[in-house]
Every structure is written in C-alpha cells, then in structure tokens.
Amino acid sequence: MNKKKFRKVEPYIWMAPSMILMGIFIIIPIFVILRMSLSKVTRAGIVKEFTGFDNFLKVIHTSAFPMVLKNTVVWTIVVVGLSTLLGFILALILNNKFKGRKIARAIIVFPWATTLVIQASVWKFIINTDYGTLNTLLKTLGIIEKNINWTPTAGAYFAWEIACGIFVTIPFVCFTVLSGLQSIDSTLYEAATVDGCNYWQKLFKITIPLVKPQLTISTILNIIYVFNSFPIIWTMTKGDPASKTDTIVTYLYKLAFYNGKKGEAAAVSVIGFLILLVCSSVYMISVLRKEED
C-alpha cells in the first residue's frame, strides 16, 4: 500500500477497536431489540414470525402502562429538577471561602461514589416502620413518641425513592456547577458591587448566565441517567405493588425476566429509547454546534 492511500485509511484503523467494541455490545443489541419488538417471541426468547406492531399495541393497552409512563415522567422531572436546584444552591455555598471546605467537598462526594444498590438498601432500612433508624432517631430526640409508618401507600414509597434519587444526584450537579463558578472572574462581582448591585442582582445577572453551560450539561446528562436509573427502585420496591412504583426500566425488566414477555419488553425498550432520543438529540445538536464555533 502506498503512503498516500495509507494516510487515508489510517484514522479508521485507529478508530477500529472502539467501533468494533461499541458495534457488538451497543449497536447489535439495539437491532436485536428492534427485531424482537416487531416479532412474536417465545418465553425462552426465541424470535418467531414478524408480527408488525402487535407487541406495541399489547403494551399500550396494558392497564398499568399509562401509570408506568406517568411514574417515569414524574421520577425524571422531580429528581432532575430538585437535584439541579439543590445542587446549584450547594455549589453557591461551597464556593465561599471557609475553613474545612476541602473536608466538606470530600464528604459531599460520598453519595456520588457509592453504588446505588447499597445506597437504596440503606434508605430502605432507615425508613422501615418497625426497626428503621429514622424512627429510632426521632424517638431518641423526643420528636415522636410512637413509630411512624413512613410508607403507608405506594405513592409514599415512590416519594422516598425520589428523595433517594435526589440525594445521589445532587453531588454531580454541585461539582459540575462549582467548576463553572470557580472560573468566574471575581472582578466582575467587584465592579457590580461598585455599581451598587445587591446579592440577587449579582446572582441573576452574573452568576447564572455564566454557569449556564455547566447547568445545561448536568441537566441533560442527568435526564438521561435518571430516566435510565434502575437500582434504586429495584432495591426498594421492585416496582410493586401492582406497578405503582414502576418506571419504564423496572417495568421492562420484569416483563423480560420475570413474566417471560420478551417481545413486549423489547417494545417498551424501543418506546424508552425513542423518548430519550428526542432528549439527547437536543443535547447533541447543542454540543456539536459549540464544536463548530
């Protein structure tokens, strides 16, 4: 092969290992799922004849499905929304200079580094009615006298799962925003003070516009992560009772591996990633546009 020809194919050789790896373990599974979602699939997972949109119709007509969709939307919006707000506030606090800031940062990393299945197990333990440590703590402090049932309804349990989701998502938002805050030129604030701006004016006119890129990144990535988050709900309730705490991912997992309905599960997968595709194409467009600048 001559040198000129080699120069042309060379980049693809460098890219090859990565492309092969992603091709086999990401792209092929996507096609497998697309095919399964449009076919009859036996309980053992063997793909039979093409059935068009049958699986999709079956899924949509299941009585639990609208609730699962609603749960997914609530779960994603509330977890991402509140963790973004709280993470942003926490970043503002940590951006102040004070003794022990390094220790505080190190502590706040904990929930980010802990595997979700363990975090969710502890929360399940803490809120237990009979022996949970939340009741023990409140009784010791004299705030309550009798054990409180923290999870009287499925909705209450779902709210705790959301709280756990927020708890583990805050550090990512906080540190992403903090990296933006620390690159803001402090003379901007000094100039604003000279001009007689108060704290809120500085916050809305300087801080928020300047950390907007970091906020956008963390919000979009979090929408993807939280939407796909499986371990918290799986560990705490497995989506029970009667799918009342299911989101799309736990629902499809049960369909596939507990109820033997792999075709319908594949259809739920497709619905799930169509929703995500819309979200991430917005992300991709905004990132690639920056790329061209």
Partner: protein, 282 residues
C-alpha cells in the same frame, strides 16, 4: 490573621454558613453512619422495637464473620477483575480513538462524535434484552469476560470524551517534531503524548474503574453462578426474601464502598472540569 475587622453582619453570615455546611455534611453522612452502627449490632438488637442509635454492645466480630457467611472474598476478587479488566479494555480501545479524533481529519468524524454523544443515552438496562441475546450467541452469559466487554463498551463514550478533551489541550508540535525525527505515530503517542496527558488519563482510568465496580444491572442479569458475582450483586445474599440480615449486608457494603469513595475523592476535581470541558468546549 485578620487584616481588617469583620463587621457584625459578616460574622453572622459566617456563622450561618458554617451552620448550613455542617448540617449538610451530617445529612450526607447519615446513611453511612446508620450503616456503620447497624453493622455493629446483633440481629436481635437490629430488629428490636425499642432500638437505640448506637449499638448497645458493639459486635466488631460482625466485620470478621461476614467473610465466612458469604464468599465475600470471591465477590471482591470478581469485582476487582471486572473493574480492572473493563478499565484496561476501555482504555486500549479508547486511547487510539481519542487520538484519531483529536489529531486527524477524516470523513465521518463529526458523525462518529455525534454517535459517541448519543451512545451515552443507551444505558445497559434499556438494552439488557438485546445484550443478553448477544451474550448467549457469544457464549458469555454467566461469565465475567462478558461483563468486562459490556462495561468497556458502555464506558467508551466517557473515555473518548474525556481523553479527547485532554489530548486537544496538548499542543501537537512535540509529536510532529518526533515524527520528523523518524518516530512512528504509535511511538509518538506512547513516548510523548501519553506521559504529558497522564493526569487526564489517570482521571479517566479511575472513573471507568469506579463505574464498572459499581455496576449492578448487567451483572444481575447475566451472572447466575454465585461464585462469579461481583460485590454489588453478591452482597444481596443477605437480602433474602424471607429474612434480611442487615448487620452482614451493611458490614459487607462498607467493605464494598470504602475503596471507591477514597479513589473518587482523589479525582473529583479533575473529573468535573474534564466532563464539562469536554462537553462545553469540545
């Protein structure tokens, strides 16, 4: 050292700041505190209706017994193999790709970058049915090797993104000079670029390691043999349907999180700036 006197308002704000920060830290650490205290309790004490916050009779032996109650050492070795293997494979595939994307011009580059970004949205759980099928064809169900491949593949996006950002922040002049002196591209990459990019590489390495160490869903689905399970799945042996042995579950959990939390503290600062730089500036 005070060069100027603080006003009363500033002092109040400072006290308020400490008050808030300390509260947040206590709140954040509470689950770990609850885990630690419960890991030291006896079974009877945990299920007691009139429990106490601190263990009445701390059972330090729980931390030793837990290694005998379950093949915890085996789980830990599996986690280490999975995380280590995934990291190695992800870097071996990701470094050349990131290098090409930062140093070469070619057709389809933008399309590939777009794909890398979009691939972040495919969490393994959404594709788990398809992955299972692929693994069955390759004979990797119930195998650690299969998990290594899946983890490496799903971490490619981050690996390429972080490394490309690192490589692009380094001027290509040194490598160009080296190639003129007769170095091949691979030699220039290994001898010149990689040592300069070491901080970024270490951050990426640790981040993939942590992701793979903490991975739960794919391991739960693919692995059925008890002795092949990683810690995240294995410790649920104490979380049975009929009986939960919280003291052992938490003792084992503490062993599982400790190394990762320490590693994470080391890279947190580089990681966040890397993630946002990669995403914002490209």
């Amino acid at each position: 050292m005070y060069t100027k006197k603080l006003t009363t308002k500033q002092i109040i704000l400072k006290i308020l700041l400490y008050f808030v920060v300390i509260d947040i830290c206590i709140f954040t650490l509470y689950p770990y505190f609850a885990m630690f205290c419960s890991a030291l309790k006896s079974r009877a004490e945990i299920f007691s209706v009139n429990g106490t916050i601190l263990p009445v009779e701390p059972m330090w032996s729980n931390f030793i017994d837990v290694w005998k109650r379950a093949p915890l050492a085996q789980y830990a070795i599996n986690s280490l193999l999975i995380a280590g293997g995934s990291t190695l494979l992800a870097m071996l595939c990701g470094i050349p790709a990131a290098y090409a994307l930062s140093r070469m011009k070619f057709k389809g580059k933008t399309a590939f970058l777009g794909f890398v970004i979009v691939s972040q949205m495919f969490a393994p759980v959404v594709l788990v049915i398809g992955i299972y099928k692929v693994m069955a064809v390759l004979g990797f169900t119930d195998s650690i090797v299969g998990l290594i491949f899946v983890n490496a593949a799903f971490n490619q996006a981050f690996t390429i993104w972080l490394l490309r950002g690192t490589f692009m922040s380094i001027s290509p002049e040194m490598e160009q000079a080296a190639t003129i002196d007769g170095c091949t591209r691979i030699q220039a990459l290994i001898r010149i670029l990689l040592p300069v990019a070491a901080p970024g590489i270490v951050t990426t390495l640790i981040f993939i390691f942590i992701n793979a160490w903490n991975e739960y869903t794919v391991a739960l689905t693919l692995i059925s043999t008890d002795t092949s399970k990683p810690l995240t799945v294995g410790i649920n042996i104490f979380n049975g349907y009929n009986m939960i042995e919280w003291q052992y579950l938490f003792a084992a959990s503490l062993f599982a999180i400790l190394p990762v939390v320490i590693l994470f503290m080391g890279i947190e600062k580089n990681l966040t700036s890397g993630l946002t730089a990669g995403g914002v500036k490209g």
